[in-house]
Subunit: 190 residues, 2 copies
Amino acid sequence: MTAIEPRPRRSDATKTAILAAARERFAAEGYERATIRAIAADAGIDPAMVMRYYGSKDRLFAAAAEFDLRLPDVTAMPHEEIGTRIVGHFLSRWEEDETLMALLRAAVSNEAARERLQAIFTDQVAPVMAPLAPDPAQAGERAGLLATQMLGLALCRYVLGLPPIVHMSRADVVAWLAPTVQRYLAGDRT
Amino acid sequence: MTAIEPRPRRSDATKTAILAAARERFAAEGYERATIRAIAADAGIDPAMVMRYYGSKDRLFAAAAEFDLRLPDVTAMPHEEIGTRIVGHFLSRWEEDETLMALLRAAVSNEAARERLQAIFTDQVAPVMAPLAPDPAQAGERAGLLATQMLGLALCRYVLGLPPIVHMSRADVVAWLAPTVQRYLAGDRT
DNA sequence: ACTGTTGGTCAACGGCTGTTGGCCAACGTC
DNA sequence: GACGTTGGCCAACAGCCGTTGACCAACAGT
């Protein structure tokens, strides 16, 4: 059952170019420093077009910040590999799609972005991780702990550029963080 | 050996009022959304005074972002309590001084703030934690890992307001994170 | 060929920003 | 009590921002 697509319009290319430029600027500079004028210049069109197609800067961001973490099914993997796989998956998602960077950079000072990031946690992270918790009452807490470690890693590695973290290899990051994540999601508290 | 203090001036009260208002605004709104006009209004004076005393917005931030983590001497505490004590100390520092919040919020989009946060890591965190590392070559890496977990916690608990993390008691946070920090600073990699 | 629709540019408005310089009043010293 | 110094306010400038509306060109359907 494929959705009925409206006939493609000539402006579709422009729209996606705007979206790509917007993601890049929001990711690199955050919400307020990324200007509509700069985004339009990157996309090679007039700033007025951005307003015509997306209405306002807020709505442009909302459109650019659509994101799917594509978390794997954790119930279908060897129990002791959960930490390793989850950390690896987050690293991959973070490096292949700048939308996450845009969300993090903007969420710190923009209310809508903050809510969007919270929604990703509530809708995509928490439900997927819930089955792993020994005690269902702890499920939310455990997912939250995962978020602290993964967002903290992204903050230090991709945003702040903390030298020891930036220079670590992917394998080292996974080796260090996997046991932490494993414990947060499915292990004992102490 | 007390430093020779210049005679106190009438304007000292105003200067510190500006600094307090600046910290509050930078902490609550980040660097670009915190305006000099708003800071001056909070301090009950004219925006021009901010420029007179601090020269520019950049230098005002630099003055407001002076910060000492006051990390305890980790070599003088029971080895197995290190994780607990460090996590507790970070929680306290974060809650009693809004400077840290100002630094984190600003560092995401402001270069000078990013460098300041890096400097705090390099000058205050890394050297203090170094003696705990079994292998001195790993010292920087281990301190960096500590930073990912503590900054990630602060981000989720104080900036993003992730519900499960916000609702956790201080004791729960310490209980969950202490083993992680203990392992990062002084434990085995796996 | 005509005409309505779509994709796009241009110039401008109003508002907010950091920053500046001139002016005034209160103070401290002789 | 005169006078330099200090603390403070006010008004304005120049620049950038999001946003708007008028205008033009290319296309599609008849």
